[in-house]
Symmetry: C2
Subunit: 226 residues, 2 copies
Amino acid sequence: MPLPSMPAPAGPFDDAGREAVYRAIHTRRDVRSQFRPDQIADEVLNRLLMAAHHAPSVGFMQPWNFILIRSAAVKDQIRAAFQTANVEAKAMFSGPQRALYSELKLQGISEAPVNLCITCDRTRGGPVVLGRTHNRDMDLYSTVCAAQNLWLAARAEGIGVGWVSIFRDADLRHILGLPDHVVPVAYLCLGHVTELYQEPELQARGWRQRLPLEDLLYGERWGGAV
Amino acid sequence: MPLPSMPAPAGPFDDAGREAVYRAIHTRRDVRSQFRPDQIADEVLNRLLMAAHHAPSVGFMQPWNFILIRSAAVKDQIRAAFQTANVEAKAMFSGPQRALYSELKLQGISEAPVNLCITCDRTRGGPVVLGRTHNRDMDLYSTVCAAQNLWLAARAEGIGVGWVSIFRDADLRHILGLPDHVVPVAYLCLGHVTELYQEPELQARGWRQRLPLEDLLYGERWGGAV
């Protein structure tokens, strides 16, 4: 039995295991309308949070906290904050884009049985954090990795996740009582889903199309041939 | 056959599929020393890039580009940039921490057959992007999701990934020829691995321990009981 600190054999997964990982990645959707009202079992929610907690973090800083929101009263405040910001957002578009924007459902705050705010404590680990010496935002990036881990684990559990980003920062901070050194990185709505779009909803609704991967690839430097 | 734009049935994965997703999440490591020299097959690399390209992105912005680096000359420049920054980084620590820091191997730039810089084009999608109206950094967060997708897919493929973050921003921009509106979000080293640490290397080496998940959970608001 090797010590836990020793490297251990770790090759590729078998075909079925690989396929499952890619299925989570390729069929994950940003959910707004498909939430079912049934509660998420504690053991499932715990597995999702553990998945988030096992994200990579700069200097093993683990800068995240997880605020679970189930109260209708708090959700009402959050939804009102979204609506305030969304009126401002809508006004930034014009013409047919504004009309289409108005038709999109951009959040499922009240319908999702669980809301989850993943925050980043920028002071955790002290003033100097390994790997964060030259890019101060690496802690925010680590926190995003936690959100993405949770999102993929949720897909495998049949739980849909929707990331809501249309808030005034001050509103979210006020409602959730966040200290100044804590940044709300991801506000997520979670709930069981029995169906999902087969492509991103914004593509299905004609907002924007997927770019060809080959147009995004460079070799050796920006603009270089692959 | 439902139209691609219609929701389709999408429940939980079977036990083996779920286990594979969690295995990718829990056994993923930040690799610096375990890279093998054999090349990554084009089809494998393409699957990894497709996984990254299927990350969630704000307003379906897809702000990422992928710069593949295989040339020893470019890697040499990148490694030199790392070394410059790492001397500065080391000096920020003191006492026993500095001694331990000096012993850590923090990059495998030259050993990894492929390096990959994932960038974020902050102008893609025009001046107003759906979902980015109130948090300008959502495009950076989307790009981090692409990196994390790739990292988990790589685990399933037996490919190790190491994220190197100790660079002066200007050095990386200069070497890779990045325009001002493009941010280098993740500089990754990729290569086959046949063994991995069973816990994060920084934990194995006594740098920092994993925090108990229950200490990171709040209910309804910051500091609230779950």
